[in-house]
Symmetry: C2
Subunit: 277 residues, 2 copies
Amino acid sequence: MRQLSTIAGLRDFTRDAPRPLGLVPTMGALHAGHLALVAAARAECASVVATIFVNPTQFGPAEDLARYPRPLAEDLAALEAAGVAAAFVPSVEEMFPAGAATTIHMDGPALPLEGEARPGHFDGVATVVAKLLLEVGPDRAYFGQKDGQQLAVVRRLAADLDMPVTIVAVPTVREADGLAVSSRNAYLSAEQREAAPVLYRALAATRDRFRAGAQARAELEAGCRALLAQQPLFDAVDYVAAVDPDTMEPWAGAGPAMLAAAVRMGDVRLIDNVLME
Amino acid sequence: MRQLSTIAGLRDFTRDAPRPLGLVPTMGALHAGHLALVAAARAECASVVATIFVNPTQFGPAEDLARYPRPLAEDLAALEAAGVAAAFVPSVEEMFPAGAATTIHMDGPALPLEGEARPGHFDGVATVVAKLLLEVGPDRAYFGQKDGQQLAVVRRLAADLDMPVTIVAVPTVREADGLAVSSRNAYLSAEQREAAPVLYRALAATRDRFRAGAQARAELEAGCRALLAQQPLFDAVDYVAAVDPDTMEPWAGAGPAMLAAAVRMGDVRLIDNVLME
């Protein structure tokens, strides 16, 4: 596996890389969810570039940028073992040199849910994802369904900017008890970790009700919220929303829906979602 | 010459077009300035794509979108005669379909001068230029020095988004009396047209003073402004500014400078600039 830190070196690599070329963008601290992205890319692409970049522009001022884990040696070993052809690990200065003046602003699917909870977050995501897509020039790029709104935003971004890339969604990887694998799970105390799977269980139970015919949006959301309220270690429920998976607008009662929720346990914020159709 | 109206058709064309591929983006109403861009592209590229798209997102609500000239047949004939391989003439719906949610926001060189006079203008320019660059995928793209701040914004955009394209500046084409060729010159009355060259003459005279050693920024700007004030048909001088040609920040007293000015005659606004070094 090649390890690259400059955009120029990356371009030298991708120029001759076998196609189709897959991109797996990550912020490092790799877990089974990231490795599922790599596995999906490996299955469909002749070569895979993974990127590790903790993007400061997608963290809010009160968020966990400084404490975000950066286990680089382990990450590189995991990517190499997973068959990645090149790991691109740029510095902040390489990605955002002095004088940079361009921000991609997303409306539409970026506005509700996480967009309300984290102002500017999706602009930061869109800007860095656009840069990575243009630096790597992949045929396919892989994103987790776990961050379902991010997936919708990235799809919108790639479509709106006419990028010749296919955005591929990879199903959420879960622990045995249902908790979605996430770097932020490591911040949970043992007690919080034991309580956390209630988030997925509430979503899954609501999906079961949906499949059984209960398809009134307000009722589904209220039912899910009631299930979450039963877990006293959830200090707050930021939102529970059944939305159109592409637009993130409230589900209109027909077609597929994404049921998404965000809860807080102390200063840890967990998000998860299930697709319902 | 191929005439294309869809992005899919454009991609089919560019896939097999001889490289290097040059892009000349225009809003139509072609004049000698545009044809100089085409000539520069033809001299350096194996094939040239010109685009004609009157981009609504770069016009302000009080600006001249509706009356902007659209002489399509003449434009296509001029492009064909100039040796363009393909003209891309998309509809507004093709470029900005329902649901589009992405805007590129520019700070830095987009903020002063035209950025102050035309809020949102350069965000509209950057968004459509990014789309055209990604739709066409050129090796080189050609922009006029006449719109010197736009040139700086596009260079910043391409650099910040890591687009693998070279932005080429083409010198301003002028009428015999010095007036920069511009689509908007057609809006001038005969009397205004006769007065208009004072804009360039003031810039050129100030450049002469600069070359003769007068290199205090405030003095240069004030001198140019005084020359413009002598033309009573200039109803307002929006700005006169000696700036860094890349950042558009006030010229720091060393290195190249761009002396830019904007004047208004009735409801017509004229801009021009000269490079000084």
